[in-house]
Symmetry: C2
């Protein structure tokens, strides 16, 4: 096949940051995707309807056609009264980070099964909201997601009508939880289905491949890739694209996050084509998400890709510095027609 | 206890580099240790008696009392005739790297069980030489040492009189090989007995904790620490201190190697004291090595350490740049009296 058209691709896990970085990175997502789920871990976390709406406006002013599905950062101080307000302005995703699990997660909840949070989740369930979780324990990195599965199980049982999302699934042991609970779905990144820990540190150490959850074993990668290639009904694509300036990557405290937004669709097409699964890409990057998250698309967007060589940019200039995209400078076999 | 005296400490695995870096880092080892096993992976690998002797002279000119136990980098081109010459000039350790396993290892042997190398090892055995191995497969990082164990077993059986050293043991699964083969001993680094993969990447990513073999699980760390604290007869301390300029650490191709040489003895005393095993430190940092490697100490060296607060330097200036020592800037409870 030399050309493929995708309808309404969605990136169901996306970090856009704010200010100058937002301006530099948003065009990559807005060009390729109809919309995406926008993560709330800004320097001032997006914890209220007001902050989320003003962030949504900032995004809309730069990319009016991009459907920004806003999320609210769940803190110990969230109160259930505000959930109704959120629903009314179309914000229906609660994002839950355990404290300290990733970039700007220090405001995360200290205990997930505390009574206050459980009450909030009850209200969220009643309002048809979605609970999106960065599910990691504070244990050993390679086992953090696995150790957190019992929290997913607990919540899924307590709130059987609440749609719970296991974000950026990274461990093959999570798949059974996805299978066992009707109300749990998952997002998969490009990097967790194509790379493993050795991409980060197998030869030299490459901080651009450092992310949370950490890349796991080759076995995990293959199991997750299999879910993606078969467009398992309960998984959607969510890039977890997370830009950082190089000063925060070349450091003794390098930040986690892979900036994968540039050229995501060409890479996904190449991946699915290599595995003879191109027919499943539409479901993986769009249909599953639209169904599971009940997204209302106002105006269809069609992205046509042609088999034609191009290159991923080496770096993206921003703020007198730069951000290095995943596989910056390397070749692509496919290209989006714009 | 407020003071402890160690007799003839040896660092049985040490990277000193060459030129300006050698000058900057050697004083730390020469101050604390009677001598050490000097690794041959220079930019031009130390593959011949001539290169080893000239490297030994360079070290001696800077630290005349430091007993540099030289090693020869085993390549596909080493011939058995040269082993006799090496023995005659007191060079008796062959260092074997699988190709590409670590810094400057591109000259390493491409196949370990090739007939040429086996002949060389036969001669080495007859001459009473020591075979020191960086034992890692080219598989998944966390399993590389484990996958390589079969090569140790194979060589230990073929050459039952050859002393084989499993360098920088990092995986608890290697312990059984140490137990099963009379002629295998091991070295342990400070970092593999006190840190695990999460030290490198559990929160932010710290390239100063990036080394080969990669730091493993907490379980591996504890098992190896146990060997060290009990001064298992077949293990010796070998720091694997491996300095790199910061430009080679803050990069998208960061080099592996932890520069642990500054303040190694104070840290070891603190570690053994914390575990109530100070009585075993002498064996771990000296006696076991002297016995197993049959080291002839010409003049005894005594190092006295006192319980008195000090600090690890933040960085070591060299070549208009710097090298960051392990735990640079942090506090020490013990201090060497000089």
């Amino acid at each position: 096949m030399n050309s493929i058209t995708l309808k309404n691709p969605f990136d169901m896990h996306l970090h856009l940051r704010e200010g100058e970085i937002l301006k530099a990175v948003l065009p990559f997502s807005a060009q390729s995707f109809s919309g995406g789920v926008i993560m709330p871990n800004l320097k001032t976390p997006v914890t209220t309807s007001q902050l989320a709406q003003s962030y949504r406006e900032e995004i809309a002013s730069l990319a009016p056609d991009f459907l920004a599905l806003m999320t609210i950062y769940v803190t110990d101080f969230l109160d259930k009264e505000s959930l109704q307000d959120l629903s009314e302005v179309g914000i229906k995703i609660l994002k839950l980070y355990p404290k300290g699990a990733t970039t700007n997660s220090d405001s995360g909840v200290s205990s997930i099964l505390n009574p206050n949070l459980l009450e909030i989740l009850k209200v969220a369930q009643d309002l048809g909201m979605i609970l999106s979780i960065h599910g990691e324990s504070d244990g050993f990195s390679m086992d953090r997601e696995y150790e957190f599965l019992k929290v997913f199980e607990n919540l899924a049982k307590r709130f059987p009508k609440l749609h719970i999302v296991l974000e950026h699934m990274s461990d093959h042991r999570s798949i059974k939880v996805l299978e066992n609970f009707e109300n749990i779905t998952a997002t998969l990144t490009y990097h967790h289905i194509t790379m493993d820990l050795d991409s980060l540190l197998g030869k030299n150490l490459n901080p651009h491949y450092f992310c949370k959850p950490i890349l796991k074993t080759p076995y995990d990668k293959e199991a997750l890739l299999d879910l993606a290639l078969n467009a398992h009904k309960k998984v959607s694509f969510g890039s977890d694209s997370a830009p950082h300036l190089i000063s925060n990557k070349y450091s003794q405290n390098a930040f986690g996050g892979i900036f994968s937004a540039p050229n995501l669709l060409p890479r996904l097409v190449e991946l699915f084509e290599r595995h003879n699964k191109l027919e499943n890409l539409q479901a993986f990057v769009s249909d599953n998400a639209i169904t599971n998250y009940k997204i209302k698309v106002k105006k269809d967007k069609f992205i046509t890709l042609k088999k034609s060589p191009s290159k991923i940019p080496d770096s993206i200039p921003v703020l007198d510095s730069k951000i290095i995209p995943l596989f910056g400078g390397s070749d692509l076999m496919w290209q989006e027609l714009v």
